[in-house]
């Protein structure tokens, strides 16, 4: 069975380590914050200038001057710091964030990512996504393996305009966890009950299937 959004977030959360500074994109990545293992400390970076994002405020705590990069009202966690956008992206661009999780439309075997622009549709902009993919060493892309129409999003070459070139090495889809290496996707884990054959069929880019591919468990 394909993973649910929550299971995808749970799987990503297993990549967290105590003491990690993490930037979570909008959508499934945001859910990862709900699955930080008990007793583990992780600090969330929000690119509008907040390191140490806390939970949403209560009605009483709500404050227009305290928002995250998704423009949602938030709070600051203990140990938080707040700074300008230039400082925030100095952190990101300078590679100081330990893990970045973000969504995408397409990823290819060269590690390219397309996530911000569909020609013909209204283009709203890349926001901080291009800085995030260029700045981080450790990025996990989360997306469904195929579009609603069944078209693979794991391609030999991205068809949409890129967000970043050659910067992605880890992809978690609803079917599999894959790494990109030597110009191919390498199947590292399967969603429960999903066969390597099914994943191969739904992966347009070259897929390397090791002899043993463990099944995820939740």
């Amino acid at each position: 069975m394909a993973l649910t959004r929550e299971q995808m977030a749970m799987r990503v959360a297993r990549e967290l380590q105590d003491g990690y500074y993490v930037n979570l994109g909008i959508g499934i990545p945001t859910l990862v914050a709900n699955f930080i293992p008990e007793g583990m400390e992780v600090m969330l970076q929000s690119e509008n200038g907040l390191l140490g994002m806390g939970p949403f405020p209560t009605e009483e705590e709500i404050d227009a001057d305290m928002i995250n990069a998704g423009k949602q009202t938030v709070t600051a966690a203990t140990g938080a710091s707040i700074f300008s956008s230039a400082e925030s992206f100095a952190m990101i661009r300078g590679g100081h964030v330990d893990l970045t999780v973000l969504g995408a439309f397409e990823v290819d075997t060269q590690g390219n990512i397309a996530s911000w622009m569909i020609p013909g549709k209204l283009i709203k902009g890349m926001g901080g996504a291009m800085d995030l993919v260029a700045g981080a060493d450790n990025i996990i892309v989360t997306m469904t393996h195929a579009s609603k129409h069944g078209e693979s999003k794991l391609l030999p070459k991205c068809s949409l305009p890129l967000t970043g070139a050659g910067c992605i090495r880890k992809v978690l889809t609803d079917l599999a966890y894959l790494e990109i290496s030597n110009g191919a996707f390498v199947l590292k884990e399967r969603a429960p009950g999903v066969s390597a054959e099914e994943i191969k069929e739904k992966t347009a880019g070259e897929l390397v299937v090791p002899d043993f591919v463990p099944e995820m468990s939740f």
């Binding site: 929000s46 690119e47 509008n48 200038g49 907040l50 939970p55 949403f56 405020p57 209560t58 009605e59 009483e60 709500i62 404050d63 227009a64 001057d65 305290m66 928002i67 995250n68 998704g70 423009k71 949602q72 009202t73 938030v74 600051a76 707040i82 700074f83 300008s84 956008s85 230039a86 925030s88 992206f89 100095a90 990101i92 661009r93 390219n112 622009m117 209204l122 283009i123 709203k124 902009g125 890349m126 926001g127 901080g128 996504a129 291009m130 800085d131 260029a134 700045g135 305009p161 890129l162 967000t163 970043g164 070139a165 050659g166």
Partner: protein, 234 residues
């Protein structure tokens, strides 16, 4: 004499000298920390053909969105726009130009503009449409693109507290692009919630030193919230 008294008493005075076709750099992220009264004054003045440098373009009827109503904006330099219907309409009608710039590059362009750095290299945008027409250069085996700095005829900034010298501090995440915008305007105008006595702000805790600030005005702010998200208390 009053060389360091940056305080002006009206928004007319604050924006005196703004003319058609000028470039205005604005602080703020979404609707957070935006110079809402200064924007409103630009609407009142009816200045046209403006190039606005701002991360976003407000919403219909608030923030920079109000400048769309009378088509005062010719060009937006932003990382994320189109949260309002009017924006989309003018863009599709060819009445509005947009130069999309990655958020971190936009912030760094403003800082560089204020800091006398005409251009810098960044990996952000390499291999993407953002790199089109820009020089690519390798440093230590990695490819970077050349980005030029931005300055404006005016910068409009929202601060929290300031003294008459123009020393400013910002409140929480309402800081965002504001201190960067403040450095990059030929004329920088800051509106704040409170003007305090000189000496009240700790020198080492000032976010924007007064040297960057030309005019300072006390305002009252609506501070609209874009995404009101709450948890249950208790």
């Amino acid at each position: 004499m009053s060389g360091f008294d940056k305080v002006v008493n009206s928004y007319e005075e604050a924006l005196a000298g703004l003319e058609d076709n000028m470039t205005v750099i604005a602080g703020g992220f979404g609707l957070c920390g935006i110079p809402e009264n200064l924007i409103q004054q630009i609407k009142v003045m009816g200045t046209k053909g403006l190039t606005i440098v701002s991360n976003n373009c407000g919403v219909d009827g608030f923030g920079l969105g109000v400048l769309l109503e009378d088509k005062q904006i010719r060009k937006m330099i932003s990382s994320y726009v189109g949260e309002n219907a009017m924006f989309e309409k003018q863009l599709l009608a060819g009445e509005l130009e947009v130069e999309l710039t990655p958020q971190g590059t936009l912030a760094e362009k403003m800082r560089a503009g204020g800091a006398g750095i005409p251009a810098f290299y960044t990996a952000t945008g390499f291999g993407t449409p953002v790199a089109e027409g820009k020089e690519v250069r390798e440093f230590n085996g990695r490819s970077y693109i050349l980005e030029e700095s931005i300055t404006g005829d005016f910068a409009i900034v929202k601060g929290w507290k300031a003294d008459r010298y123009g020393n400013v501090i910002y409140r929480d995440t309402a800081q965002n692009f504001n201190p960067l915008a403040a450095t990059a305007g030929k004329i920088t105008i800051v509106e704040v919630e409170e003007i305090v006595e000189p000496g009240k702000l700790q020198p080492a805790q000032i976010h924007t030193p007064g040297i960057y600030v030309d005019r300072l005005i006390l305002g009252t702010f609506e501070k609209r919230i874009e995404q009101r998200t709450v948890r249950q208390s208790g």
